[in-house]
Structures are given as structure tokens and as C-alpha cells.
């Protein structure tokens, strides 16, 4: 049973990890918690569902289309909120509020359109389960783990091997210095929102396949935030570790302590981390930027 619980935990955790990485990317460069990430999760879930249902295309195609769509939506959100606030010299609190507003607005619109219904995909995708000994592994969970690994590999290639990735990492350290290198900071920030939007989109779509599609699915963004804090805000590896850890913690607490209390214990864990290691589990004390 313990191994089965670990499988369950890793499957949940791999999604948190993917969400946390997208969340962390924006945090890194701008130092703000971007809650419009939650809106992109929900849009990813709904768009891939709508495309699969109404255009009757295969689910993987629908997911890909919806990823592109959430990436663009996220870039658009950057353009109409953050860009304007930044040009006006408004502080990050304004952006935090704007991003929360986008999140709530999109959720409200989806509640309205879906009339709050929970829906599932018309055609089965990655349904069923395979077994390894006593372990029951749903295909969707295995698929999610695989897809998160692929996404993380692609992301780390982009971040560490491309010109765009170099610019993102440079700008994450200092926007001003990045500008002095001739980096187009508006384009870079928009690119980061695009990438983070695609990550939210793929997770949202997969969560929709795994569970169901419902307007409050964007609330998974809070798990992304927790994972980032646990792993160390602004640390991509930490975000992945934090996601896996929270997924496992949640599952094991539900299994061996009490599932009704599991959200409370997850919060308690977060508080303990914040008190004992404010820089997160994987984080180093931040370096002076000089």
C-alpha cells in the first residue's frame, strides 16, 4: 500500500511541479506572484475540452492546440496588464492585484459559460490502468509524469542552451543590466509569460483529462505557489522538488493521518518551512546583487 500511495503522490506531485515551474519563471524575472497562471490552467482545461468536443479532433491534438492558445493568452495578459503598469512605473503590488483579478475574472466567465458544470472528455484518452505487481498505475498518471519530464527537459534546454533562455536568466538577475546588454526586456517578459502560459495550459488540459473539467480547476495555482515556496521561490529545481514533495505529503497525510485534515497539515508544513528555511528547501540564501 505504501508503494501505491507513493505512486499516487508522485502523479499528483508531477503536475504541481510543472505548475510551479511556470509560476516560478515569472516570479524570477519580475519578483511577483502571478495568479493569472490559475486562469491559464482553467483556460487550458476548457479549451482542450471544447476543441475535443466541438471540433471532434483527437484529444492530443486538442491539448496541443489549447497549449498554444494558453501561451498566447498569457502573453496577452502581460500586454494588457503588466506592460501598462510597468510603463507607468506602478509597483508590483498592482500587478499582483491585476493578476488576481484576471484569475477571478476568467473563473467567473467560465462559471457562467459552463453554468458551473463538471464535464468530462467525450472520448477516452489515456484511460484505464496498467499494473506492475501490486501497483495500479492509471495511464493518465504515467502519461502525466512522462509529459512533465518531457516539458521540463524542453524547458531546461530552452533556459540553458538558447539565446532566449540566457536573456531570461540574465533578466531574472537584473532587468536593468539585461537592458544594457541590448536585450529587449518587453519581448523577454512576454516570452516568459508565453512559456509559463503553455506550462499552465498543458497542466490544465491534463488535469481536465485526469479529473474533470470544471471552472474552479484554476485553484491548482495555489499548489504551485506552495510548491515554489517550499522549494525556494525563484529556484526552478526547487519548484520541481517542492511540487513532488507537496504531492507526496498530501497523499501520505491523507492515507496515514486523516484526509479531512490534509489541507490543514499542508499549510502547517508550509508555515514550518517558512519559519525554518525561508529560502526554501533547495534555495541558498540570496546573493547580493552587486
Amino acid at each position: 500500500m505504501l508503494f501505491q500511495q507513493i505512486v499516487n503522490g508522485i502523479s499528483v506531485g508531477s503536475m504541481y511541479a510543472l505548475l510551479a515551474v511556470g509560476f516560478s519563471l515569472v516570479y524570477n524575472i519580475l519578483g511577483i506572484a502571478n495568479f493569472s497562471h490559475g486562469a491559464m490552467i482553467a483556460l487550458g482545461a476548457f479549451f482542450s475540452y471544447w476543441i475535443a468536443r466541438y471540433l471532434a479532433v483527437p484529444v492530443p491534438v486538442a491539448i496541443l492546440a489549447s497549449i498554444a492558445f494558453t501561451g498566447l493568452s498569457s502573453a496577452l495578459v502581460e500586454l494588457v496588464t503588466l506592460r501598462i503598469l510597468r510603463k507607468r512605473g506602478q509597483g508590483s503590488l498592482y500587478f499582483f492585484i491585476a493578476s488576481l483579478t484576471v484569475f477571478n475574472l476568467v473563473t467567473a466567465v467560465l462559471v457562467y459559460i459552463s453554468r458551473g458544470n463538471i464535464v468530462s472528455y467525450p472520448r477516452a484518452f489515456l484511460s484505464g490502468t496498467f499494473t506492475i505487481g501490486n501497483l495500479y498505475i492509471p495511464w493518465i498518471d504515467a502519461g502525466m509524469l512522462l509529459i512533465s519530464i518531457v516539458c521540463l527537459a524542453v524547458l531546461s534546454y530552452v533556459m540553458f542552451k538558447t539565446r532566449f533562455g540566457l536573456a531570461v536568466r540574465a533578466a531574472s538577475f537584473s532587468i536593468k543590466a539585461a537592458q544594457l546588454m541590448g536585450m529587449d526586456i518587453d519581448a523577454i517578459i512576454q516570452g516568459v509569460f508565453f512559456v509559463s502560459g503553455t506550462l499552465a495550459g498543458v497542466t490544465g488540459a491534463l488535469l481536465g483529462v485526469k479529473y474533470a473539467v470544471y471552472p474552479y480547476i484554476g485553484n491548482f495555482v495555489y499548489m504551485a505557489l506552495f510548491a515554489c515556496v517550499v522549494g525556494g521561490l525563484g529556484n526552478l529545481t526547487g519548484a520541481v522538488l517542492g511540487g513532488l514533495l507537496i504531492g507526496l505529503l498530501e497523499t501520505l497525510v491523507s492515507a496515514y493521518i486523516s484526509s479531512a485534515i490534509s489541507p490543514a497539515l499542508t499549510f502547517a508544513f508550509l508555515v514550518v518551512i517558512l519559519l525554518l528555511r525561508p529560502q526554501g528547501l533547495a534555495g541558498r540564501a540570496t546573493e547580493e546583487k552587486i
Partner: protein
């Protein structure tokens, strides 16, 4: 600025006053208020509930009304929020001058409304199954709240009895949404009946409201390997639970509440094959020949078939009210309340065709319900009618 705000306030107060007078001036109509879920995840049920009530009102008015007066039905949405339920209850009583209210079938909403109804003294006939809605504590009854279907204690116990006596199960597990008293009250009743009558509930697991991943809990249930799992949740949540149970290779039979007879349950579970073999309880059997005439009337009036049991809630509640007003001889809240308390053998569509309320509990006496089973072809088959 302030002065302008004040004058806007004054004008709107005046408008409200005139509107209020307009309604209360229509003394030749009887206003029945209805509170239903017109939006949100259960909107389909709520909208059909309203349709059922409207159909009953139309029939009654066409036949001359009650006490020579026409009935006017005013329906409000509680938007999924207990607080909103309380607010529209007040509005129906104070602004619309309703003399009696019908709805809801959400225990959380009626639990919130109950104390307010005791203050404003306009009776509510609901389908909220949690017994605390009508009897907040043993020996005490809410004077202004009534239930028109078997309570959750009865429904939980009926399902437990079916599992023990008919399906011959020895062991069970309960998975229950802690945030929903509809679920907890049935699960407790199931557990108590099952344990008290020779069975054993191996796991009784509460999950937090809003959870969508139940794998950890189900893995635990799988380890104790019960004969059946009782999941008295709303349709979509229960659907997810069945789906995840099957993904983990759990083969135990699933039993559920009266919420599982609808398409959203199957949709959330993923397919007919996944829900096949699931049992649930319901007050009505849509294929009952006794109902054929009504089913046709409904479909003709609305151009859509009866899909949810809520149609019968709406329809029957209006007829129970009609009987009470006739018995009272006057359309006053207090008189209606007294008459409702003494409801006896009033003809309805649900159960076995009549309803009698117990004056001490404000709940039905001996009202039966059907046990259904989902088949692999996507149909539901009635197994038996069970009395509490």
C-alpha cells in the same frame, strides 16, 4: 456628492415601496415562493424543479385555483450559497409577501434558512434530507420547516439494509465529503445501520470539500478490501470517485445517494462501463406506469423529457401546499403551517403515491424509495421499492 447619493437612495426607497405595495395590493392571488439552484453545477436539477412547480401551479390555476384565488409562483436562485438562500427567503417573505416557501434540496442551504424561518414565521416545505433541518436537536422541532421526502437517516439506512439483506454484503467502506451535510448525515446513518445489523464498516473516510483527487483514500479502502463502498455525494463528485476507484483496480460494488441517477454522474465517471453495477436510491421510478401520464404532460409543456427527480420535488410540493391551504381555509402563513403539520394521505407522485407528515418531526411517515442499478448500456433499472 453626498446629497446626490442621498436623493438617489430616497428615490430608490420610494420605488421599492411602490413596487412592494403593488404586490401586496394583489390580495386575490396567493404568492408561493420557491428557492432553487437555477445556476451552478446543479442548475439542470434546479431548472427542472422550477418547471415541475410551474406545471403544478398552471394546472391548479386552470382548475380554478385554491380557495377561489389564483396562485402566483415566484422563484429565486440561491446561487449555490447558503447565505444567498437566507437572503432570498427574506426577500420572498418581506418584499413578495409569500405565504409559504418551497425548496431546496440542499441541506446546507436549509440549515442556514431554518433559524430565520423560525423568526419570520413563514413555513418552508423542503427536500433537504439532513434531519437537523427539521429537528435541530432530539425532541425539538423547527416549527416552520418541513421535509417532503425520506430523510437522510432513512435513505442511508435503506441503502445499508439493501446492501446487507439483498446484496448479502458483509463489509463496507464509506467515503464522504465532510463539507456537505447531505453526505455526512447519510453516511453516518449507513454506517450505524450497517454496523448494528451484522455488517462491518471497515473504513469511514472523510474527504475535504472541493477535493478532486481521492486516490490516497481509495488506496486505503482497497487495502481493507470491502464488499461495497458507499459514496453519498453529489453526482459529479461521486462520478470522479467511481472513476478513480476503478483506476486503482478496486472492484467493490459502489452504492450512492439519490444524486447518482443523472447523466452528469456518468460523464464525470467517464463512461457507462465504469458506472455499470453501481446502485443508488431514488424516490421516483421514471418508468412507473402510474407516472406515464405526467411524464407525457411535462414533455409536452416543456419540449424536454423529465431527466431529474427534482421535477417531482417541484410538482409534488405545490400540491402538498395546495392541500394544506385548502385544509387551513385561509392563505395565511400560520394557518398553512398548522395544516402542513397535519398533512395526511395527500396524493403525490413520488414514493408510493401519498404522503403523511409526522407532527413531531415534520418528516414523512413511512415514505418508500426505489433502489436502482446502472447497467452497462447506460440505463438505470429499478430493483425494488423499500420502506424505511
Amino acid at each position: 456628492m453626498l446629497r446626490r447619493a442621498a436623493s438617489i437612495l430616497a428615490i430608490s426607497a420610494l420605488v421599492l415601496l411602490v413596487a412592494g405595495m403593488g404586490i401586496s395590493a394583489q390580495a386575490d392571488v396567493i404568492v408561493i415562493g420557491e428557492i432553487a439552484a437555477l445556476t451552478g453545477p446543479t442548475a439542470q436539477q434546479g431548472l427542472q424543479e422550477r418547471n415541475g412547480a410551474v406545471l403544478a401551479v398552471e394546472e391548479i390555476n386552470a382548475a380554478g385555483g385554491v380557495l377561489g384565488k389564483q396562485i402566483k409562483l415566484i422563484t429565486y436562485d440561491f446561487k449555490g450559497q447558503p447565505a444567498e438562500g437566507v437572503s432570498v427567503y427574506r426577500k420572498l417573505v418581506q418584499q413578495d409577501k409569500a405565504v409559504v416557501i418551497v425548496g431546496t434540496n440542499f441541506s446546507n442551504v436549509n440549515l442556514a434558512m431554518a433559524p430565520v424561518a423560525e423568526q419570520l414565521k413563514v413555513p418552508v416545505l423542503s427536500n433537504a434530507m439532513e434531519p437537523a433541518v427539521t429537528t435541530p436537536e432530539p425532541g425539538k422541532v423547527n416549527k416552520y420547516h418541513f421535509l417532503a421526502q425520506p430523510s437522510s437517516i432513512e435513505q442511508g439506512a435503506i441503502v445499508a439494509r439493501y446492501a446487507l439483506d439483498e446484496l448479502k454484503f458483509k463489509t463496507a467502506a464509506c467515503l464522504v465529503n465532510k463539507g456537505n451535510s447531505f453526505a455526512t448525515s447519510q453516511a453516518e446513518a449507513f454506517r450505524d445501520y450497517f454496523n448494528a445489523n451484522g455488517g462491518k464498516v471497515l473504513d469511514y473516510i472523510e474527504v475535504p470539500a472541493g477535493a478532486v483527487d481521492f486516490k490516497a483514500q481509495l488506496t486505503k479502502i482497497k487495502a481493507s478490501n470491502p464488499d461495497c463502498i458507499y459514496i453519498p455525494q453529489y453526482a459529479q463528485e461521486a462520478g470522479l470517485q467511481v472513476k478513480q476507484a476503478r483506476e486503482l483496480g478496486i472492484t467493490a460494488v459502489v452504492l450512492g445517494a439519490n444524486t447518482l441517477g443523472v447523466p452528469p454522474f456518468v460523464e464525470a465517471a467517464g463512461s457507462n462501463a465504469i458506472v455499470a453495477g453501481t446502485y443508488f436510491i431514488n424516490n421516483v421510478h421514471f418508468g412507473d406506469p402510474r407516472l406515464a401520464d405526467f411524464m407525457a404532460r411535462y414533455e409536452k409543456r416543456y419540449g424536454e423529457p423529465v431527466i431529474t427527480t427534482n421535477v417531482f420535488f417541484g410538482y409534488d410540493n405545490v400540491y402538498i401546499i395546495k392541500a394544506a391551504i385548502e385544509k387551513a381555509g385561509v392563505a395565511e402563513p400560520e394557518a398553512i403551517r398548522t395544516a402542513l403539520e397535519n398533512t395526511k394521505d395527500v396524493k403525490i407522485l413520488q414514493g408510493a403515491g401519498t404522503i403523511t407528515l409526522d407532527p413531531n418531526t415534520h418528516r414523512p411517515v413511512d415514505m418508500p424509495a426505489w433502489i436502482f442499478k446502472w447497467e452497462a448500456d447506460g440505463t438505470t433499472v429499478p430493483m425494488t421499492l423499500m420502506y424505511p
